[in-house]
Amino acid sequence: MKFDTPATTNPIDQLKVIGKPTDRIDGPRKTSGTAAYAYERNDVGANQAYGYVVGAGIAKGRITAIETARARAAPGVVGVLTAANAGKLGKGQYNTAKLLGGPEIEHYHQAVAVVVAETFEQARAAAALVRVTYAPAKGAFDLAAAKGGATKPKDGEPDTAKGDFAGGFAAAPVKLDQTYTTPDHAHAMMEPHASIAAWEGDKVTIWTSNQMIDWGVGDMAKTLGVPKENVRLISPFVGGGFGGKLFLRADALLAALAARQVRRPVKVALTRPMMFNNTTHRPATIQRIRIGAGRDGRITAIGHESWSGDLPGGGPETAANQTRLLYAGADRMTAHRLAVLDLPEGNAMRAPGEAPGLMALEIAMDELAEQLGQDPIALRVLNDTQVDPEKPERPFSQRQLITCLRTGADRFGWSRRSARPGQVRDGQWLVGMGVAAAFRNNLVMQSAARVRLDAEGNVTVETDMTDIGTGTYTIIAQTAAEMMGVGLDKVRVRMGDSAFPISAGSGGQWGANSSTAGVYAACMKLREAVAQKAGFNSADVEFAGGRVRAGGRSMTLAEAAGPAGLVAEDVMEYGDLDKKFQQSTFGAHFVEVGVDVDTCEIRIRRMLAVCAAGRILNPKSARSQVIGAMTMGAGAALMEELAIDHRRGFFVNHDLAGYEVPVHADIPHQEVIFLDETDPMSSPMKAKGVGELGICGVGAAVANAVYNATGVRVREYPITLDKLMKHMPQVA
């Protein structure tokens, strides 16, 4: 099915199942521990051996010798795989560094060997016996130092300009020119990267934890040098991804290679201390923002430049992208520059681009508001735009930013905020409120599904879509139930298997809208098949209550399906509506913090998000996506930073004690409001994404609240007490 004209009324609009807060259909399994994640598939591939990965001990250089004899001779060891005996390997389309290093080492903890043994304990002990000798090479590990040599990235659209930014900014009566920094962030999902691989002849099956099944199949095939049809990936449960499991990673590749070498199934999980340097991360940024405005607060010129680094061949963190679309202003520019760094591979993490970009831009707006003596909400309202400011002929399909801000202001009690910072005290706490706009584009991705109707009237959906905690099982079941006129109890959803039709996958907050649209397409086909089988004229057919009705006649779906059942498969493809209309999601984040007047510890007291993101398919799981993103945004604001040793070139705090993410005690009750919205330009579902919108702007809302509480402006994330303390009043 092709979606190339705006959606009109369709079966989803019945909203009998869609749009209702619905408990997750996989909930009983997840809460009882019976949902099996990759490493737990004891039911597949008999006689599994354990692989333990050895990571490089230097950041850059060459292996001069790798001695594995002692590891091989260790008790229980069945094989040791290194680049020297792995055979010729390609590199995946989505990988920057090689997943098995040697002799060249591209980054710290790049895998250099996997030791396979009968038990985990034996593999771990033997892995410590692998001796690697290196010739280290000098590397670049400091973004600030490498910034001067950063160049314009080759791919994408690194720069944009409209009007005369330099002239406009110079002429503006009110100017802001500030630089902000965001550090490297780790996904730190709770389930480590893990895979079990088993070969049957020249075909390999990998039970893994991956967000994008088809990308994984393609890159596994490319790396192994085998046809894509010889690779099967199965990933029905994913213990968190956040972008860290978008790609083929070392666990899957090494499991496949090792299993081939030792001729039996092999399971491999990355250890937690290895994950931070072995896998990908969100790159640090340095961002310069210049905004020129009239004394009335109208922005006349806006410029946003962002510098980030990556390994050779990598890409930039597109932190200036949202500035192309968020606020009005005639003279504009954005630019991204990319430095070569020899740190581990930078790549996508929840809302790549916007998450760090808004951390900077939305502080800048707060600073500008203060400079103008305006309310930060009023300033944002004043500079709203209903069209793409770089291409004014492109309207937004929906844009309710102002309503988000105003609704939130009412609900949060924004009017009680003191415009002057450092004025509100509650016992030992200095209290402040902050606001930030949330913005994230809505991407649509082709997605396919197969739907079966059996003789009992059960509907089974099959798609290689993944549920990474997003609630996808449930919204797909809701979609199928709505389309086929059955209850949720009659729907089964099978996902995450490359044997199923290729879906959009989970990334870029496109999953919910795109994957359900694919199911919609398949269900439309199944409805036709049912109507035809029943002998109904498909134009006026109605599906409800487990029955199909037309022209006064009706029969159960079970009867229509017959003993053989019916099956339909289709793919949702997209025309150019996303070119004609700018499709984005909007929101407003409100945060209240307390700052301890003595220790300068910062604690969040209240959080509210108001989101306008098209139709909300399941308000219960969508709300969870938003509060989860708010939590990650709070972490980014206050504690998360991969600390770099600039001499040795690695992330030093590479475990969950060193890389602090928020715990229960950091997060207060969180409130989320979804504005009533449907977006007929996005898909027949009229939905968009929320999982990334929820993190966009949170960091700045926290930062602005800290400023409001203390009068101290910190422009280097994370905002920790040491950065505040030097500017805080002395205590007695």
């Binding site: 001990g57 002990a125 201390p273 504690m639 004690a657 950091d666 205590v731």
Partner: protein, 316 residues
């Protein structure tokens, strides 16, 4: 983790003797730090002596009106003990500020005293570390050091002792009771129990080979306001950037020890005379000769501010 043999000890003396006899053996109780380190081969014992069966899990009054805490008393039980809560509240508070509920349920009194530094370079076996591998150098000096020590450091090591409990015990003048392999017992004042790194940062306490901690005794209660103030970026389940254990009397006199700043709980008794004059005067003496790194220099003003907060809280 290297393979090891395992035995359950039946008496403290027997445990100490076994430890002295066997090469490369370790006692194990809660295991929450030892196993963590064994998985990374930072600790590589060939033999583990499980001391959990030694009946050292009582909290009982001493003849002089103090309290004796068995070595195996779990952190949870010590924090929740009625007498400790009433008479040694700083100890309860310090314990409750540390780790997580799960860890406190396992971790023991003696194990807490003996836990090793959380310096990230100590934990990364690919990096030089004089504590882990004497003579290899200290990567933390000139490296990532925000969490690390500001005083009592050496050119060999800037690690901190991570315990909260030990800071409170230091302010309470606890004594560490042990039995040696020859059956001799002794009581080591906690002030002298932990060592500064010097040029042997791998030697962290004055315990001798085979010496087993059997308990910790606290002197009779000293009264006063008991305060434990722990400062960290994360609101819970994080090691201290700085912590202050204080016992403050009505007249403003008292005692103070600081955590998160040194290789041992940091207390300078001479500085306590300045307590009635306020935090600045105390801090000036406490931290005389401090050698922070650029990354952790903030700990000095932070400690002073935290102490000020503690003193104000005591007054309130």
């Amino acid at each position: 983790m290297k393979a090891f043999t395992y035995e359950r000890a039946r008496s403290p003396g027997e445990a100490a003797a076994a430890m002295a006899r066997l090469p490369n053996a370790r006692f194990i109780a809660g295991g929450t730090n030892l196993l963590d380190l064994m998985k990374l081969q930072i600790e590589t014992p060939a033999h583990l002596i499980d001391v959990n069966g030694l009946a050292l899990d009582k909290i009982e009054p001493t003849g002089d009106g103090g309290l004796r805490i068995g070595a195996l008393v779990r952190n949870t039980d010590l924090a929740a003990d009625r007498t400790v809560r009433r008479d040694y509240a700083v100890l309860s508070r310090a314990l409750l500020a540390g780790a997580s509920g799960q860890l406190r349920n396992k971790a023991t009194t003696a194990g807490n005293l003996l836990q090793r530094t959380r310096c990230p370079y100590f934990y990364d076996t690919a990096q030089p570390c004089n504590k882990r591998q004497p003579g290899s150098g200290c990567s933390a000096i000139g490296g990532v050091s925000r969490q690390l020590a500001v005083i009592g450091t050496s050119t060999a090591c800037i690690a901190t002792h991570p315990s909260d409990m030990a800071v409170a015990m230091r302010v309470l003048d606890a004594r560490v009771e042990t039995v040696r392999a020859d059956g001799q017992t002794r009581a080591i004042p906690i002030a002298g129990f932990h060592r500064l790194p010097g040029d042997t940062p791998h030697i962290e306490t004055v315990l001798e080979k085979g010496e087993l901690i059997t308990g910790v005794s606290l002197p009779p209660p000293v009264g006063g306001e008991h305060i434990y103030r722990k400062v960290r970026d994360r609101a819970s389940y994080a090691f201290a950037l700085v912590s202050v254990a204080a016992v403050v009397q009505r007249d403003g006199t008292g005692r103070v020890a600081v955590g998160g700043v040194a290789h041992k709980p940091w207390r300078v008794e001479a500085a306590e005379g300045a307590m009635p004059s306020g935090a600045r005067a105390v801090a000036a003496q406490l931290f005389a000769g401090a050698k922070p790194t650029p990354e952790n220099a903030f700990k000095l003003p932070l400690a002073e501010r935290t102490l000020a907060a503690a003193l104000a809280q005591a007054k309130a």
